[in-house]
Amino acid sequence: MGEFFHALSDPDLGFLRNALLLGMIGSIPLGAVGTFVVARRISYLAAAIAHSVLGGIGAVLYAREVLGWAWLHPMLGALLAALLSAGVIGWVSLRSKQREDAVIGAIWVTGMAIGLLFIARTPGYIDPMAYLFGDILLVTTADLWIAGGVGALVAGILLLWHRQIVAVCFDAEFAVIRGVPADGIYLLLLLLTALTVVTLVSLVGIVLVIALLTLPPAIASLRARSLGQMLMASIVLTGGFVFFGLGFSYSLNFPTGPSIILLAALVYLLANAGNRLLRR
């Protein structure tokens, strides 16, 4: 890890600082929204939203090369695709009482298929792997701005409506009777999830980001006595996984995304085992 600390101050390795900064900023919305995703048990929906993001990225890459829209950042396409699929998934999950899982699965793969087709038709070589599993070299200052904006938005919304969101997650029927628009709050949660998963897509990728959204809150929930504690612990854990994952990946010359996720998964397993031992 010593090398890693040294590298962080190296003027030639700005990408490393950017990646770390992105992870630290992104850990705020990820830990906060992840807490509600885990508590409301909608990880599956979050995964579908994250995967469908490839459609937006592919479309933007195509537009940049073929239509000459070089000003368009792939992350903007990702944001739009995420919001669109969150809207559709929310609508399906609230309206259709049957086959919800099948429809959500379909949105998941349709988004990916659209992305892959666009990438195939885009001139020049683009490796979809970079978007699926993250590439530290993809991190730009635009990502930092997006993550900062999403973080501020998530924090603001949670400050204003956290009681309503908690009430809907705990007992939606009662919340409705108390005049809380439960369907609207549920959609809001999905839209926040969509914005949140996009923030770290460039660092850990579409496929892996979902683990970083759900593992820290799952670990935190083992010991947290309040939702506030769970949320703060999730943010700290997410930041920690990014920091140490990045450090290991740099020191051992491993790809960054998988290093971060593997670290999170290992801690999750150990925390579960430790928790069981303590309960005996």
């Binding site: 409506w161 939702l227 504690q229």
Partner: protein, 267 residues
């Protein structure tokens, strides 16, 4: 709705506007008619039990009252208003809630949910906290307010849910099978607690326990698709057989208790 329209809907021995008014209400799930042509009023300060076989439409009737379901025909009014407006004055205690045991909310957090209002924000005022604390104390949970909801016993969770309904400053309390998960002693305490809440409060309780009904309330709403309202005294064995469609067995549990087995299911 005009005052004159109200006088048409059923019981006319009471003064003033009914708290709950069903006017020719029918409701079906798909092709399955669950409530047929329900026409009754419940007035301020009344204690009423809703009885009937499983799947007979008891919970559906509560959901219609709360505006969670919309009638196919007829209309339901709460305090002379639409159910959507009137339900702000209702405290609802569900039978049990499905919740994630890892969802870390305390008893106080749950009770505070009763203080949510339309258009309110996420901040908890001192008054909210005091009201929630007081409701928990009233339900015998003074020392448990910081405990995780999941770690409480079934009876204690029920008490928290009742506290949550009470802090809403409810004028109408709807309880769905409040004695389903508690023992006899807890049931007695619950009924004593409810009676102590005062004569202003209207209480509607769904119950399976006919012995409980005959002790607890003077008026029953019998639901088996059709809805009949009459004094509890008229709930004779013959009437019960008619309602449940079969014999209702007496079971001794140390206290008198009528137990229903089988019965029809309508979804």
């Amino acid at each position: 709705m005009s005052e004159s329209a109200h006088s048409d809907c059923g019981c006319q021995t009471h003064e003033g506007e009914p708290v709950v008014c069903f006017e020719g209400v029918s409701f079906s799930y798909g092709n399955n008619l669950v409530v047929e042509d329900a026409d009754f009023d419940i007035f301020k300060g009344e204690s009423v039990c809703v009885v009937g076989p499983n799947g007979g439409g008891k919970s559906t009737l509560l959901k219609l009252m709360l505006g969670l379901l919309r009638p196919d025909r007829g209309q339901v009014r709460l305090f002379g208003q639409s159910t959507k407006r009137g339900r702000a004055r209702v405290g609802y205690v569900p039978q049990q809630i499905e919740f994630d045991p890892l969802f870390p909310v305390s008893a106080l957090d749950v009770a505070l949910m009763g203080r949510l209002r339309q258009g309110s924000f996420g901040f908890v005022s001192k008054a909210d906290r005091a009201a929630a604390q007081q409701a928990l104390e009233k339900m015998g949970l003074a020392g448990k307010s910081r405990e995780p909801f999941a770690s409480l016993s079934g009876g204690q969770r029920q008490a928290v849910l009742i506290a949550r309904a009470l802090v809403a400053k409810a004028e109408l309390l709807l309880l769905d099978e409040p004695t389903a998960h508690v023992d006899v002693a807890a049931e007695e305490r619950l009924m004593a607690g409810l009676k102590a809440l005062g004569s202003e409060l209207t209480i509607i309780t769904v119950s399976h326990d006919l012995a409980f009904v005959s002790r607890a309330v003077p008026k029953v709403v019998c639901v088996n698709r059709r809805v009949h309202v009459h004094p509890t005294a008229k709930l004779t064995e013959e009437r019960i057989r008619e309602l449940y469609g079969h014999e209702v067995r007496m079971v001794q549990h140390g206290h008198e208790h009528l137990d229903s087995r089988g019965g029809h299911r309508h979804g």
